[in-house]
């Protein structure tokens, strides 16, 4: 009787070893191939097509009124010669803090070093909020009351070409958020953007670079209104 029971036991119990082997293999596969990237999202943007073929010249997208937004490194005071800015830029080259100004309005400082890789989300969020609040207020002052958003003066972002990308996109983001509040649309679809106010990055000013031209570019952006 006892012998019978034992035989039955052995038949029921399957051999687990191959299954465990395969499961370990799977586990190792997932361990090696997985990575945790932060959740990346997108800001949709449309390049203008209706400016003619020569839309690379600055004049063509010069806004009629003062909806210019300037972004440039902090610590460069106005009223200097281009050579001064060129020299400043060559010696520093790093933009820890930037300045942002709409038209001839007051400028604010953007604590850009808090936006970089090692910084905490709370600090980044605070900087983002600050820039948004400033630009929303400035843009509100310059509302023209057009019936359609696309008839409002286009906003042009004039960012110094040597700045880190994070400043330009943050300013763009703030203007888009302002427009989103005005239209109530998400502006995530290109079709929404066709009806929205134009927000453009100014085309590059310098072509066939010589390094000393950066001083001229800085001078122009710092003194532009």
């Amino acid at each position: 009787m006892a012998v019978n029971v034992r035989e039955e036991d052995e038949e029921i119990k399957p051999d687990m070893t191959p299954m465990i082997d395969i499961i370990f293999l799977l586990l190792i596969f997932f361990l090696l191939t997985t990575k945790f990237i932060p959740d990346e999202k997108f800001i949709t943007s449309l390049l203008p097509t209706n400016k003619g073929q020569a839309n690379t010249s600055q004049q063509d997208i010069e806004p009629p009124e003062d909806c210019n937004i300037m972004v440039y490194p902090a610590g460069m005071s106005r009223g200097q010669q281009p050579s001064f800015y060129d020299n400043e830029w060559k010696t520093k080259r790093e933009v820890r803090v930037a300045k942002c100004r709409v038209g001839a309005g007051l400028e604010i400082e953007i604590q850009g070093h808090l936006l970089s890789f090692g910084s905490s989300d709370a600090k980044k969020w605070a900087v983002v909020q600050e820039v948004h609040a400033y630009l929303h207020e400035e843009l509100k002052k310059r509302e023209q009351g057009s019936a359609l958003r696309k008839d409002e003066d286009p906003v042009v972002i004039n960012c110094f070409s040597g700045m880190p990308w994070k400043y330009a996109i943050l300013v763009y983001d703030a203007v888009r958020e302002y427009e989103r509040q005005q239209t109530g649309k998400g502006l995530g679809n290109p079709s929404d953007l066709l009806e929205a106010r134009e927000v453009n990055f100014a085309p590059p000013r310098i072509r066939d670079y010589h390094e000393w031209e950066l001083g001229n570019e800085l001078w122009e952006i710092i003194h532009k209104k």
Binding site: I23, P38, D39, S45, L47, D121, A122, G162, P164
Partner: protein, 199 residues
């Protein structure tokens, strides 16, 4: 008899809890992780913004991811001209050194021409006569990358400038097209970004 049974049970380790745990770990990795994608190099940290959305592509559309890296940090390029890289997919990485190196833009334009020729087209809603490809371009630029690189990538995409030298050896001048139908413009851009958590 009873004694023998107990001894046998001691010999064999009970594997069930271990298998349970391993299954749990596997399921965790399947659900929480994303398999490494060569389209998105990890070394790029995208900038933080507030309005970024998860956007869906319209049916029939495809997407091209342009990874743009380069540095503005002094420590990274002391004495050398600032360098940038434009990466598409796994094997296509184009480097540009300094301000007067346009080779990366030229390679990008050649790549975009191929994408344009293969893509389905639609008429520009602004009635310019330009045939636009049903392709969205994701610009996944590093947060510390020089802004001029992103500017130039946008100009190259719109096909309004010529990254190849003209008769006088000048680069990046406005491009002359015989008719708007010749323009190979990509206009639909998705700037990659990440929304920081509030707390």
């Amino acid at each position: 008899m009873a004694k023998k049974k107990i001894e046998q049970a001691k010999d064999e380790i009970d594997l069930t809890p271990m298998i349970d745990m391993i299954f749990l770990i596997i399921i965790f990795f399947i659900l929480a992780g994303k398999i490494t994608s060569d389209l998105r190099p990890e070394k790029i940290t995208v900038p933080p913004t507030k309005t970024a959305l998860k956007t869906e592509l319209p049916p029939g559309w495809s997407k091209v991811v342009i990874n743009v890296a380069g540095t503005t940090q002094t420590s990274q390029f002391k004495g050398k001209p600032p360098r940038h890289t434009i990466t598409i997919g796994k094997n296509a990485t184009w480097t540009g050194d300094g301000y007067n190196d346009f080779s990366s833009y030229q390679k990008l334009r050649q790549f975009l021409d191929r994408v344009y020729n293969a893509a389905d087209k639609y008429d520009d809603p602004n009635k310019t006569g330009i045939q636009l490809p049903m392709v969205a371009v994701e610009i996944r630029a590093d947060s510390e990358c020089e802004y001029r690189i992103v500017q130039e990538v946008q100009q190259v995409m719109s096909d309004t400038i010529d990254c190849f030298p003209d008769a006088n050896g000048k680069h990046m001048l406005p491009k002359k097209h015989a008719s708007p139908a010749d323009m190979k413009s990509f206009i639909d851009i998705r700037f990659t970004s990440r929304k920081p958590k509030k707390d």
